[in-house]
């Protein structure tokens, strides 16, 4: 499977990619902002998206909204520091499949990946 990882922090992308590698995923596309994420989604056959919320150009919420507007059901996990109830609700309403709040423990991320990563 091919996974898109969108985060403006290079180190956070590497943390997520290490976790993806640990569950056997090596086909990974990276994006450093929201617009890059949308472009990458539109030009690749993506099976799972992990996206930050606060990014330059377009936010993670914009990414979710635009991809869902295309009629896509691709699983999207929001990985973000935004943890207030209203924001979680907004993300769910926009169409996220799951939500992981930073900071997280390595096992928390792996548990989310286990739900969506297929052999």
């Amino acid at each position: 499977m091919r996974v898109l990882v969108a985060d403006d922090s290079g180190i956070m992308r590497k943390i997520i990619i290490r976790s993806l590698n640990s569950v056997g995923v090596t086909d990974i596309v990276e994006a450093a902002d929201g617009q890059e994420a949308i472009n990458a989604y539109n030009s690749n056959d993506i099976d799972l998206i992990l996206t930050d919320w606060n990014m330059p150009n377009k936010s993670g919420l914009d990414v979710v909204t635009e991809i869902r507007a295309q009629g896509s059901n691709v699983p999207i996990i929001m990985v973000t520091t935004e943890a207030q109830k209203g924001q979680v609700i907004a993300a769910i309403q926009a169409g996220v499949s799951d939500y992981l709040t930073k900071p997280f423990e390595a096992d928390d991320l792996r548990a989310k990946l286990d739900k969506f990563v297929t052999a």
């Binding site: 180190i11 956070m12 606060n54 330059p56 900071p103």
Partner: protein
């Protein structure tokens, strides 16, 4: 510029009001280091309103805006930043490279973001973190900001978390 004289106290001398104000920042800082790095860190001192406080080699800065306005600064020694990046990457970086800078920025982002949520204030948003480095660098806050510098000790060296807020009682 703040008119209050700077004071440095140990954590046993904090007033109840100060403890309540600082508690979310202390808790979130400990959580970020514990959860992301598996480091136990401890609060060892607090400096209030010292515009000349000495910072460490790398500082991550994040802005708060909306119903609460100000900045949060995480300042770490090079050894702390390198050890944190090593924990994130699984291998030590050769020098203070983009990964190390990003590590400081992301830790700042997580402390700022989770503190904002723990404060429970609606209508506060955080910006994107920026990182500055170099011995003796300075960070300028809003004139009149109330500044609290939390001094922590980690297994890899000292670091500080500074909160500068305007419009608080």
């Amino acid at each position: 510029m703040s008119t209050t004289a700077p004071t440095q106290i140990n954590t046993q001398e904090l007033s109840e009001k100060q403890k309540r104000f600082l508690a979310p920042f202390v808790k979130c800082t400990k959580d970020v280091f514990s959860m992301m790095l598996n480091w136990e860190v401890s609060l060892v001192g607090v400096v209030t309103n010292d515009l000349n406080a000495v910072r460490h080699h790398l500082s991550g800065i994040i802005g708060l805006s909306g119903s609460m306005r100000g900045s949060l600064v995480l300042s770490v020694e090079q050894e702390v930043a390198l050890a944190a990046a090593t924990a994130f990457l699984g291998a030590p970086p050769e020098n203070v490279n983009a990964d190390v800078i990003d590590t400081v920025g992301e830790l700042t982002n997580m402390i700022g973001g989770s503190s904002k949520d723990r404060l429970g204030l609606d209508g506060v948003s955080i910006g994107l973190p920026t990182v500055v480095c170099g011995e003796g660098h300075t960070v300028n806050f809003d004139p009149g900001a109330h500044i609290e510098m939390l001094q922590f000790q980690s297994p890899h060296g000292p670091f500080t978390v500074e909160i500068a807020l305007t419009g608080i009682g």
